[in-house]
């Protein structure tokens, strides 16, 4: 079985220590987490983890089974890239002088449909949301001019299909 990118979605109670419990499941199997995002879900006090891994379908099934087994986990799913709508957000901090000295910078911003978050005397910050490849591309374009800081968020995603959990979560409201 070949490795593929899977997005694991976990709905859980919002409790201290659960992240440790979940990350241990990956650690034990020596599987590297490519990205991790935790936030409140559509239901109050229910957290949603989005974990991206590159592994085989057999392993991801095993992992999701182990995650779901944890007492405070309500439900866990896994999806392939084709089955989800997903994106990441990146922030680029760039010297303000470049905005005026390098005409091309303005074109890059416009073409990439990224937004300027803030501009100060010394630097400006650009935010870009999209697929990993789009962010990579933008990074490569800015790189020759010098990037002061760069950060990319974990993946967030929603499934195309209805999650089986929706009706269960209704009872939690």
């Amino acid at each position: 079985m070949e490795d593929k990118t899977f997005t694991i979605s976990v709905y859980s109670e919002n409790n201290v220590g659960l992240l440790n419990r979940i990350s241990g499941i990956f650690l034990k199997r020596h599987i590297n987490i490519l990205s991790l995002n935790v936030s409140e879900s559509e239901i109050e006090n229910v957290s949603r983890f989005i974990i991206v891994v590159n592994t085989t379908e057999k392993w991801v099934q095993n992992i999701v089974g182990q995650i779901e087994k944890q007492i405070e986990v309500i439900k866990a799913f896994y999806h392939t890239d084709e089955e989800t709508i997903y994106l990441e957000t990146a922030l680029f901090k760039i010297a303000s002088s470049l905005l005026f000295d390098e005409k091309q910078i303005q074109n890059i911003i416009k073409d990439s449909q990224s937004t300027i978050v803030t501009v100060s005397r010394d630097f400006f910050v650009i935010s870009k949301s999209g697929r990993r490849s789009e962010i990579e591309e933008l990074y490569q374009k800015f790189k020759p001019y010098g990037i002061m800081q760069f950060v990319r968020s974990g993946r967030i995603s929603v499934s195309k299909e209805k999650m089986e959990i929706s009706s269960l979560l209704e009872t939690f409201k």
Binding site: G17, R21, G65, E72, T171
Partner: protein
């Protein structure tokens, strides 16, 4: 419900009483002293057994749980007290034993300050607990302890650790208790799907060579009677895993013995001959399956299991029946055709004969001057008549105990299966005997494992618990030595044991004892041990370099099982 204003420490005791606990194992220390102070006040209602090391508390709680089916409870202080519990917790986790551990913790204001005897036991125990929680306020205690017991005993059982900061033990609050009956994110027993049962039944009925493998799930699910009924109606040969031992009487005609690395010849070999393999409450551990890629590939697999994470984890199933095995067996029974599978049984009998001739006969009637482990176990069978609870440690003696001990009734085999914890048996036997005082409890231990928890002889002396201890002494770490002989060209690296005078040690604890070195003395010594009203220590000197056979070498296929 009315409330009373009490301290967190008193609440801990009252919660335990509410859960029906009357016996706990533990060791005091600074951060748990408020709870011990309350134990002093409640000593007529809640009996505390002072062990000699916290690991012993967990194994005793496990032994109690395995013998009774109830939740075992262990208690310890923070820091080293808590970390000493970890081996027992890991053992309970992998063997699905219901246990609640309570640890003291430094005061909330000291958390994270590297205070004296502070350790992150929540972090440390997370991978080996079914659930854990740190209580930092007294008012959390009733709800959390109620959850702890509910989680430990429900579904697939397991260990739970509750860490309670010292301030939460001292502070007063308005106490009331309500048992936990459900947790919204936790579904302990999947709902039985009757269509799956019907699918399983059809497959079983159509099978020419069906084979049942069963594990501890039958015992944990209290489904022994239902299992026996299914077995007898379907006429299917059945083999047990090490933790499934005693779920069925040993001499039941459909019982074809033990699976796995040192299991019986026929069930291992015929795993790769059956056409339908039906698993009940077992998890296809690697010690059972050997090389997975050649395990029962010809068979369609049906898996009756309570834990969804076990389905397809190791062996791909044709039909998975999730749910409580007692319920699923009851649903399965009326759908099965009554059969006898005589020709198929003959295949098992033929192979059993081969195993008897080439392994068992000599083991039970050795030609060597030295005693064998097998004949010692057989002697215990003779005098216990198969009614004893056998608690075994880990190693060669464990395999001999599991292969040769006879069981008439359930919950009679207590051993560390999944984790393989040397040192398990002595404290576990204490717990088993206290849980089942009317039954004979015999601990069978090697000279290596015995010295890992030997200090629990002190607990036996202090409590006067009448456990029977048999040391099978070959002056070697025998299982490792066997592997060194077979796979490492006889290089006996650090497996030779220079042992102390065990009998003198036992006598130091005022435990009646005897050492047997000659075959002619064994019968009388075992008889005397089992007739004793008090605890008894029997050291049996056995052949130094005997091996356990049959054996499936690590990574080999089940059908590559060796007889020598």
């Amino acid at each position: 419900m009315g409330t009373i204003r009490i301290s967190g420490a008193e609440a801990v005791i009252r919660c335990l009483l509410e859960e029906g606990v009357d016996l706990i194992y533990g060791y005091p220390g600074g951060a748990i002293m408020p709870v011990y102070d309350e134990l002093y006040k409640f000593q007529d209602k809640l009996h505390h057994v002072l062990v000699r090391h916290e690991q012993g508390a967990t194994h005793a709680a496990q032994g109690y749980a395995r013998a009774t089916g109830k939740v075992g409870v262990a208690i310890a202080t923070s820091g080293p007290g808590a970390t000493n519990l970890v081996t027992g917790i890991a053992d309970a986790q992998i063997d699905s034993t219901p246990m609640v551990c309570i640890t003291g913790q430094v005061g909330r204001h000291l958390l994270g300050s590297d205070a004296f005897q502070e350790t992150d036991i929540i972090g440390i125990s997370t991978p080996v607990t079914k659930w854990n929680f740190q209580v930092t306020e007294a008012s959390q205690i009733p709800e959390i302890i109620a959850k702890a017991f509910y989680i430990a005993r429900s579904g697939r059982p397991g260990p739970v650790l509750i860490d309670i900061t010292k301030n939460a033990q001292f502070d007063e609050f308005d106490f009331s208790y309500e048992k936990c009956t459900g947790i919204r994110s936790y579904n302990p027993v999947p709902k039985l799907n009757l269509d799956k049962v019907a699918e399983a039944a059809a497959l079983i009925n159509s099978a020419k060579k069906p084979f049942i493998v069963f594990g501890q799930g039958i015992i944990l699910g209290q489904a022994e009677a239902e299992f026996k009924a299914v077995l007898e109606k379907s006429g299917i040969p059945a083999a047990w895993t090490i933790l499934g031992l005693s779920a069925l009487p040993t001499d039941h005609p459909l019982n074809v013995g033990m699976l796995g690395m040192h299991g019986n010849y026929a069930p291992n070999l015929l795993t790769n001959e059956c056409d339908v393999l039906i698993a009940f409450g077992m998890r296809f551990d690697d010690r059972v399956t050997g090389k997975l890629s050649t395990y029962a590939k010809q068979a369609k697999v049906i898996h009756f299991e309570i834990d969804p994470a076990e389905i397809d984890k190791n062996v791909k199933t044709e039909v998975a029946v999730l749910g409580d095995v007692k319920e699923s067996l009851a649903a399965l029974l009326p759908l099965l055709d009554a059969k006898s599978h005589d020709l198929w049984h003959n295949e098992f009998k033929e192979l059993a004969k081969i195993e008897y001739e080439s392994v068992i006969k000599d083991e039970l009637n050795p030609k060597t001057a030295g005693l064998s482990m097998g004949e010692t176990i057989e002697m215990i069978n003779k005098h216990s008549k198969g009614d004893a609870i056998i608690v075994s440690d880990v190693g060669q003696h464990q395999m001999f105990a599991c292969r040769y001990a006879k069981f008439n009734s359930t919950k009679s085999n207590i051993t560390s299966g999944g984790l393989g914890t040397m040192g398990f048996a002595l404290p576990a036997a204490i717990g088993a005997k206290m849980g089942k005082p009317d039954r004979e409890v015999v601990a069978i231990i090697g000279d290596g494992g015995f010295q890992m928890t030997i200090q629990e002889l002190g607990t036996i002396f202090q409590t006067q618990v009448p456990v029977k201890i048999v040391i099978l002494n070959n002056e070697f770490l025998g299982m490792v030595r066997q592997w060194q002989e077979l796979f490492f060209d006889n290089r006996y690296a650090s497996t030779k044991m220079i042992n102390p005078n065990f009998v003198a040690i036992a006598e130091g604890y005022h435990i009646k004892s005897k050492k047997v070195t000659q075959r002619e003395d064994l019968d009388a010594a075992v008889a005397e041990m089992l007739a004793s009203k008090d605890s008894y220590f029997l050291e049996v000197m056995v052949e130094k370099e005997n091996n356990v056979f049959p054996m499936i070498p690590t990574g080999a296929c089940v059908s590559e099982i060796r007889l020598s």
